[in-house]
């Protein structure tokens, strides 16, 4: 509204950057100072975001980062910030969940010798993530995209002395780079075709009509970026390994925000996919649905508490991507369900991870659920908040996840019944593996000595859990969807009914989707209860026999990719190296030097260090050249 207030957006972005730079330069070895700087920065960003949100500020502000103007056309790369409903909501999610997790880190990381490095990484991440949220053009988006990638790399590898963590960080970065390769090509192609990278202008120019194949190609290339960042099939392999990082990092980066950046980007540039005739939405929908199912299946047979949650994150991201694809299938649709689920998921999934972190801390870094058990009585706050988040994830009304998931199911019901079936199956699997986790770790009998000494975590860790529980439970009544619809269709935001109306609306609106999702979720809980309530060992491998093995071994993707890389890239590299050593470096150069023995002998004079010889040689060369020239 006011030009001055859009500049406030810089105040969201700059404190985390300042904190990251300040800690790196001055406070790397001062844990208390670095924690204060980092937490202060994210709280400041949260405060400003709240102001922006409540004031309903819209508009853009920009700083020209790079600009090349030859008088007729301009290549402009701006760091432009765009404030609208989409970015304001996402700002709140990132800074809100971020603040909670920053504070939680204070408890979780206490006593680590590199706390300064940890908080520097966290602040760098916050800065770049907020940059993605605010970006109003593709180049700035790409810059921040790369920066979140690197902060994720630094934080996954935070305990770099552990080989698993070091390998996981490298894998995460490289896998993301594969997606970014397509993303960058898509961006370059867009620029080459439309002459701008600004979202608003691109939207107009694409809307004005293009060659038919261009939106499909560009859409798929840009989707590659989301596939990498949001860990969709076939690039999903990095996310489970990324759990080697500290748990608050997993909660913030690899559950709530960064991995959702892919989905956010798809919603932000939805106009690229919505272009008529584009083949991209179908691909997006099927990739998302496939990832959701694949990850849910794998999660059923995982035993590490963080990995179960990681596969669940993959699966839920699959839902969001599916929703974007479904929305793009018909003209004039909007991807609100995807953003809605992103928002609620950020809250309850962060809560789940922080709860897992609380358990891991209490059990002195035990992560195997089959060595836990009976934690509900020993850690009541952790248990009840974890349970609330689990119910939200499973989509049980009136928890927030029910509403957002139902929006996706309803959309699938409208567009593609097969995908609805798939989504319902995933809903069943989700509540099955989540309640398997709850029963085995929290409710069932203790399976080892580890839980005997478990005690509830300190307040600095439990308070964040309680804070996050609030949105996980009630966010379904806040009218997030109508707020978002205002962004895509100004004026169409439904006037929100009362809370009872909100609760029953899904069953009126698309009863088939709502009931099938709910029944599937309840069935999953019942199955989990029957199978796991009193077990000390997993009965499923016995029941499923050989079918359980590929689930446990994650369908052998890592092995397959290892082979693939060994066959292709490594072979190429080995070939290039051999050629370099033996053909170009060896045979040709050595052969040449051997055959001109005389030249060699002359040049050996080099080692005398005589400058005169050199001067002479070059003058000689010049003379030869001139003689050649004259003859020619």
């Amino acid at each position: 509204m006011h030009a001055a207030s859009t500049h406030l957006a810089w105040l969201v972005l700059l404190p985390p950057l300042g904190a990251a730079a300040g800690i790196t330069l001055l406070a790397l070895n001062r844990p208390a100072v670095s924690a204060r700087l980092s937490i202060g920065a994210i709280l400041a960003a949260f405060g400003v975001s709240l102001v922006l949100f409540t004031q309903g500020v819209e508009g853009r502000t920009a700083w020209t980062w790079l600009s090349i103007d030859d008088g007729r056309g301009t290549f402009v790369a701006e760091l432009g910030l765009r404030l609208d409903h989409l970015s304001c909501l996402m700002l709140l999610v990132v800074t809100g969940v971020g603040s909670v997790i920053h504070i939680y880190s204070l408890g979780y990381m206490r006593g680590d010798r590199s706390v300064g490095r940890y908080f520097a990484g966290l602040s760098l991440f916050s800065f770049s993530m907020l940059g993605i949220v605010l970006a109003d053009n593709f180049l700035m988006l790409f810059i921040c995209w790369e920066l979140v990638g690197v902060s994720s790399y630094l934080l996954i590898g935070f305990w770099f002395e552990r080989p698993a963590a070091a390998d996981a960080s490298k894998k995460a970065f490289l896998t993301n780079r594969l997606g970014d390769f397509g993303f960058l090509l898509g961006i370059i192609l867009l620029w080459a075709a439309f002459g701008t990278l600004d979202f608003a202008e691109l939207e107009q120019r694409i809307g004005a009509g293009t060659t038919p194949w261009l939106p499909s190609l560009v859409g798929l290339l840009i989707f590659c970026g989301a596939v990498g960042k949001s860990a969709q099939f076939p690039l999903h392999v990095w996310l489970p390994d990324a759990m080697e990082g500290p748990t608050p990092v997993s909660a913030l980066i690899h559950a709530a925000t960064m991995v959702a950046a892919g989905v956010y980007m798809l919603c932000r540039v939805f106009f690229v996919f919505a272009a008529p005739g584009s083949a991209a939405p179908d691909v997006i929908a099927w990739v998302g649905g496939g990832t959701a199912l694949l990850a849910a299946l794998i999660a059923v047979q995982q035993n590490d508490i963080k990995r179960i949650l990681a596969y669940s994150t993959l699966s839920q991201l699959g839902y969001m991507v599916l929703a974007v694809g479904l929305a793009g299938m018909a003209a004039g649709a909007h991807p609100v369900p995807a953003m809605y689920h992103l928002t609620t998921h950020a809250c309850f999934k962060a809560l789940l991870f922080l709860g897992a972190g609380s358990v891991i801390c209490a059990l002195r870094h035990e992560q195997d659920i089959w060595r836990m058990g009976g934690l509900a009585r020993r850690m009541p706050i952790t248990f009840w908040t974890f349970l609330a988040a689990t119910l939200a994830l499973c989509g049980i009304p009136p928890f927030s996840g029910f509403f957002s998931k139902d929006a996706i199911l309803a959309l699938a019901w409208e567009r593609q019944p097969v995908l609805l079936g798939l989504a319902v199956a995933v809903a069943f699997l989700t509540s099955f593996y989540m309640f398997r986790l709850v029963w085995v770790a929290f409710l069932g009998p203790a399976k080892s000595q580890a839980p005997d000494h478990a005690r509830e975590s300190p307040a600095v860790m439990t308070l964040p859990l309680l804070v996050l529980t609030v949105p996980s439970v009630v966010a379904g009544f806040w009218g997030i969807d109508s707020y978002l619809i205002e962004h895509f269709r100004p004026g169409e935001g439904l006037s929100a009914p009362g809370w009872l109306g909100q609760l029953t609306a899904p069953f009126h609106h698309a009863p088939v989707a709502a009931f099938s999702g709910l029944i599937a979720a309840l069935l999953g809980i019942v199955f989990a209860w029957r199978l796991y309530s009193h077990r000390v060992q997993d009965p499923l491998p016995g029941l499923l026999d050989a079918a359980a093995r590929p689930l446990r071994d994650k369908f052998y993707f890592d092995e397959f990719y290892g082979r693939l890389i060994a066959w292709t890239q490594d072979t190429l590299a080995r070939g290039a190296d051999a050629v370099d050593r033996w053909v170009i470096g060896g045979a040709l150069v050595k052969g040449a030097s051997g055959s001109i023995e005389l030249c060699g002998r002359l040049l050996r004079l080099v080692q005398t260090g005589s400058l005169q010889t050199y001067a002479f040689l070059f003058v000689l060369g010049a003379v030869v050249a001139i003689v050649l020239m004259l003859g020619w």
């Binding site: 007729r72 920066l147 070091a166 780079r177 293009t210 490594d570 190296d577 150069v589």
Partner: protein
């Protein structure tokens, strides 16, 4: 004394001073070198900050006629193409002097040669006369050979010195043939580049001559810049060179060939450039992809960074091969960024070699715990090398990729693959193997850079990378006008070519085509283009860009 002469002659006078001081005053040599390169750096910084933006005019010009009969002048000056290179060169020279405390024997000769190298290369960048351009470069090149032979590392340093001498002399000779031919063909009877450019604008060199001279310069200069497949001297030479030499050569001297292409070959031989850049673009893929793959296989960190430095030169070649304003500007940014980065990585490699006695990566591991500063800087350098935003390489590479896309779409795609993926693979592998993981027992006493003085060279180079990475306009605003001038003569015919490429790429419905016509305008912008063409472009521009409204 004028400022450019001051920058060049500080190191040269320092060299004379060192030559005059008896060997027994060993403490003085390092001090004199630091002082001389420091003064050069201060001068270059001053010129860089006082440089007037938005003009292609030659600034800080000095012109002293020397040999009238041949038209050789002592002609110095800076414009956008070389002002950044001068600053980068002076900075690298200062940093190289700082890290040279590892040299313990024959210090007098070492520092003397280092100063000769510095003076030579700064002179080559500042010269606007072909004779001095070439002379100063040779002055910088000869000490390289000697330093590798005398102070180099490893058993095969003599072989390395021999190969690099053979190779670079060959390259310099081919370039010389090209330059002499150019002198004869222009018929302007001057070695003065500015005068030649002015003369050629009115009397272009015949097309057949251009088609022969351009490849001579391209290959000759290309060999000096380790253009694939003439690159094998580089890893060998840098692997064996003492730290300071590798920093100065890989960082600064190697840019001479690229600078020569931009300053001389492209503006004076536009038709030749048009005809041959296709080949140049293909060869640059050899650097980017092939040398990147080779770097992936290296087990020695020295060879890894040497190959990586060769690989990255591909971006500069690709930028030049784009013959577009954006691409050429990007190429100059890449040259500066690459110089800083190569100097930084070779400097860090030298530090590790000095402390560990080896650069075999299998002998390292977990060093980050012992070396928080050096290790941290090394991680940042490796990330900068794989094109991370925030470091100067990123804006350069992104400009090159954008600028070259329409002319070479397939090559740009492969280059992006090389930059984003191959580059990341070997960079992260080096970090994983050397810095991450467990620290071997025998490395427990490896010392980090102890004090601010030791940290200074690395901190300076890294800071420059970050400053130019975060504020690329510091460079591009200086470069653009001169880059425009350098490719001005190419552009007339370029527009047609770009239009053709556009049609090939998008040849579809009318709206797209129209929007692309505006891309062509990016490559045009000169007044001298055909009227019909310019009418079409301005029509498109008005329709599609707000900022074209002033037309």
């Amino acid at each position: 004394m004028d400022s450019l002469t001051f920058i060049i002659f500080c190191p040269l006078i320092g060299a004379v001073l060192i030559a005059l001081i008896p060997r027994s005053f060993e403490v003085l040599f390092r001090g004199i070198t630091l002082g001389a390169t420091g003064l050069s750096l201060a001068g270059a910084l001053w010129i860089f900050s006082e440089f007037e933006l938005g003009t292609a005019r030659i600034q800080y010009e000095e012109l002293v006629p020397w040999v009238y009969s041949l038209g050789i002048n002592y002609h110095l000056g800076v414009d956008g193409l070389n002002v950044g290179l001068l600053l980068m060169g002076a900075l690298v020279a200062f940093a190289a002097t700082c890290v040279s405390s590892e040299i313990r024997e024959r210090q007098k000769e070492f520092y003397l040669l280092l100063l000769l190298m510095t003076g030579g290369i700064l002179g080559a960048f500042a010269s606007l006369d072909l004779f001095f351009f070439y002379f100063f470069h040779e002055l910088a090149l000869v000490p390289t050979f000697i330093m590798i032979g005398v102070w180099g590392r490893g058993a095969n340093r003599r072989e390395a010195a021999f190969t690099i001498t053979l190779y670079l002399s060959l390259g310099a000779l081919i370039a010389l043939v090209g330059l002499v031919a150019l002198y004869l063909e222009t018929g302007a009877h001057t070695f003065d580049v500015v005068a030649m450019t002015r003369h050629v604008a009115a009397h272009p060199v015949s097309e057949s001559a251009q088609n022969i001279i351009f490849p001579l310069l391209m290959i000759g200069f290309g060999i000096l810049v380790s253009l694939w497949p003439f690159h094998t001297w580089a890893p060998l030479g840098y692997g064996a060179a003492p730290t300071a030499t590798a920093m100065l050569h890989a960082g600064v001297i190697k840019k001479f060939g690229l600078y020569g292409l931009l300053r001389i070959a492209v503006p004076l031989l536009p038709e030749g450039a048009q005809r041959w850049v296709g080949l140049l673009a293909v060869l640059c893929l050899g650097n980017l992809v092939y040398c990147g793959l080779v770097a992936m296989r290296q087990k020695n960190f020295g060879l890894l960074i040497a190959n990586s430095s060769v690989a990255h030169m591909g971006f500069a070649f690709l930028g030049i091969a784009s013959l577009s304003l954006i691409g050429v500007t990007g190429a100059v940014v890449v040259m500066i960024a690459h110089g800083l980065l190569a100097a930084l990585t070779f400097g860090l490699g030298g530090y590790l070699h000095q402390r560990l006695g080896t650069l075999e990566m299998a002998q390292m591991g977990g060093l980050l715990r012992r070396l928080p500063f050096v290790g941290g800087v090394l991680i940042m350098a490796m990330l900068a090398g794989c094109g991370l935003p925030g470091f100067a390489n990123f804006p350069g590479e992104i400009l090159v990729l954008f600028g070259a896309f329409i002319r070479h779409p397939v090559i740009v795609s492969l280059a992006a693959w090389a930059g984003l993926i191959i580059g990341a693979v070997y960079a992260l592998r080096a970090v994983r193997v050397m810095l991450h993981g467990e620290l071997p027992q025998r490395r427990h006493d490896t010392p980090d850079a102890a004090n601010a003085w030791r940290k200074l060279p690395y901190a300076l180079l890294l800071a420059a990378l970050v400053v130019f990475g975060c504020f690329p306009r510091l460079l591009t605003d200086r470069i653009v006008a001169s880059a425009q001038q350098a490719i001005a003569s190419v552009q007339g015919s370029s527009v047609a070519e770009i239009q053709h490429a556009d049609d090939r790429l998008f040849g579809g419905s009318e709206p797209t085509k129209a929007s692309i016509g505006q891309r062509g305008a990016f490559y045009a912008g000169q007044e001298g283009i055909a009227a019909g063409r310019s009418r079409r472009q301005s029509g498109c521009s008005i329709r599609l860009t707000g900022n074209a409204a002033h037309e």
